[in-house]
Symmetry: C2
Subunit: 410 residues, 2 copies
């Protein structure tokens, strides 16, 4: 099949999610394949934010904690995320950052397995996940053990307290079999924490069906919650009465507004709150979550597979195997919503593509990463991106001096 | 002296800070005496936020981390807070919540005093401060000891690792002598953490001059950073190379964008960053901080004393001593920017005042608290508030059934 521009446009015309593109603000002159790093701006966000700032903060001031239910925003937005990840509404809250939430649920999980010390993860997991374990290890709370993804389920022995994995790998897009690994962990007496940062809002997740213990995830990727959006965390109901957060702030207290001297954890997942909730961040995230929930994860995942398959077909079909190596699983059901390639000059290729209006990203040392956020991308975007990639490689545009300049964030 | 409405208006006309009132959005029909809990909305906030959302996030998308320097926002806003608290620009960052920051600096301070276990604080300190200590105590990291404020400097013995105090007490407004207590702590070999939540932006603070070790503070009170604004933390330069944050996230890594498996703390205070910085929250806080810095803390503190003295004079001068007890120091130099009274029915009085358009707040069990945010309040506000308080007490309006209904947040 020749997947040319006309074919791409025909696909777009038949795309049942086509109308959602206009629900996002997207610049005219770029193809944005980095929604897995920072999701696009929903069109409704500015108005909602204006109302919360102008009317709630500006006019109702402190009264808004009650009048506009600010105080339950972490639970309200969490409950809206819950169906996207196979959780029940009272199992999810929005709070802090993914890293801070990881610290909280990891310390809590270790507390539930006091006779075990090992946290099992994989080398090359998203760095903050490993760093958070190392922080707790440095405090004498655990030790980190790494095992390759392919064999990790077989490495869960009686020393392992917690298996900590990212569901969809940030570089390769490889998706773990959540049910299989969770079952293996439980069979060995371990608990599992899933980092859903690269999967929430993009692929179906069934935390409840898999029997997962804890999870965390990011608000600013496929949930379109804006740069540095607050993150979410999940605690299975069966652990809520016994799991203890190490960050014992007043918002996680059973009766925070009684201002008592002694800490007593709140009932339920609310004990994993810590400081005052970031109302503006929660407002913006809520808009993004509502939009993703409206579209539906199954439809998003289906379209994501179609987009990424088309892209891989265009790129690899053009005889690029000499220069580019597919770094993602070839099976679209084994991937999340992004596709990665290795290239010896990945940084420069990425910069040259950005110069040509195709925004993907680079992950050290040699990964070119392209995210296919299905809520707002179309097949013409895919065709244009592949076309520009061909041009950058054919004409060796990446070799230009200007594309070697390193940025602070890459 | 009779401080009547005409006098109040005359004071307002001579007030050198009078013009700043219009730099804030304030509802016409209220006297807002709760800026110590949630600061008012600066008029410039909406526009700045609109630009960051629409132009930076919406148009420049992921490129904004470099193009708009999002990546250094925690340091940039921290550097703007620094002069307000007597710190150097490289000693302050904005990150997370006050509670999370307390956990970070407390764990770091304990790490610097490995042979000592006691954290000394005072009973009735702001609850989250005590709770955070209790969380670390529960993990076996320390033990909490409490001593009354009046004698605390004498209680710092060789077992004390860290003295943790809130500079201005959230209920009484009583201000600790930062220099004296810090000196006493150092003489005993202990470190000091100051919680500046109720003082930053309202009273002069000289962390550097006092030799303070660590500090944290709130962004949404006198800094007008909006509900749940990100908080700040201070690490004295001399501790930056050795102090270690327990929340070892990727943003505190020496080379976060090299995505290595092993954690290595960043140089300087940046190692106390953890997750991805909340860009919208930082943007909003920056507007508030710039405005407070423009006015200047000395001028703000002077006006605060004048406002609160006028209020106390009006309230206590009217023969209220039977019903109301001043719960704040009578000396304005020994107070922060809020004034509290005890009343047997403080909750109901507070609700009745809110019903009359005077917004103060209640702190359990019997405190009526009035904040005098000097950036936007005037003497007429003070007169009106005292007038309504007289009416509520004279007519026993607080005894009405409607004012007994408890709110979620009080």
């Amino acid at each position: 099949m020749t997947f040319d521009l006309e074919t791409a446009r025909a696909y777009d015309r038949r795309d049942p999610l086509r109308a959602y593109r206009d629900r996002f603000v997207l610049p005219q002159d770029v193809v944005y394949l980095d929604g897995n790093s920072l999701g696009a701006l929903p069109r409704a966000t500015a108005g909602r934010l204006e109302a919360v700032v102008g009317e709630e903060w500006g006019r109702d001031l402190i009264r808004s904690w009650n009048k506009h239910d600010w105080i339950v925003a972490p639970q309200r937005v969490g409950a809206k995320i819950a169906p996207l990840i196979g959780a029940r509404p009272h199992e999810v809250i929005v709070a802090d950052s993914t890293s801070v939430n990881l610290h909280k649920v990891l310390a809590a999980a270790l507390g539930l397995r006091p006779d075990r010390r090992v946290v099992l993860s994989e080398p090359g997991n998203f760095p903050t996940d490993l760093y958070i374990v190392q922080g707790l290890a440095g405090a004498g709370r655990c030790e980190l053990r790494l095992a390759d993804a392919e064999v990790i389920a077989d490495q869960i022995d009686a020393e392992v307290a917690v298996v900590l994995l990212t569901h969809v790998h940030y570089k390769s897009g490889r998706m773990h079999d959540m049910a299989r690994i969770t079952t293996a962990a439980h069979a060995a007496g371990a608990l599992v924490i899933w980092d859903l940062s690269h999967s929430a809002g993009a692929v179906p997740i069934d935390l409840g069906g898999c029997g997962a213990d804890f999870a965390v995830g990011c608000g600013y990727k496929y949930l379109n919650g804006g740069p540095g959006a607050p993150a979410f965390l999940y605690v299975a109901e069966r652990h809520q009465a016994t799991a203890r957060s190490p960050l014992t702030g007043w918002m996680g207290h059973a009766a925070g507004f009684e201002f008592r001297d002694d800490y007593e954890p709140a009932a339920g997942v609310a004990r994993f709150l810590c400081g005052t909730p970031p109302i503006l961040g929660l407002t913006v995230l809520e808009v993004g979550v509502e939009l993703i929930a409206e579209i539906g994860v199954d439809a998003l995942a289906r379209k994501s597979r179609e987009l990424s398959e088309a892209f891989i077909g265009l790129v690899m079909g053009a005889g690029r195997a000499v220069e580019l190596e597919l770094a993602s699983p070839a099976d679209p059901h084994a991937r999340g919503s992004h596709v990665s390639f290795r290239h010896a000059h990945a940084y420069e290729v990425c910069q040259a593509l950005i110069g040509a209006g195709v925004i993907g990203d680079f992950r050290a040392p040699d990964i070119l990463r392209f995210g296919f956020a299905p809520a707002y991308l179309g097949f013409e975007d895919v065709w244009r991106a592949a076309d520009q990639l061909s041009r950058v490689l054919d004409q060796r545009l990446w070799a230009r001096e200007e594309f070697r300049v390193r940025q602070a964030v890459t």
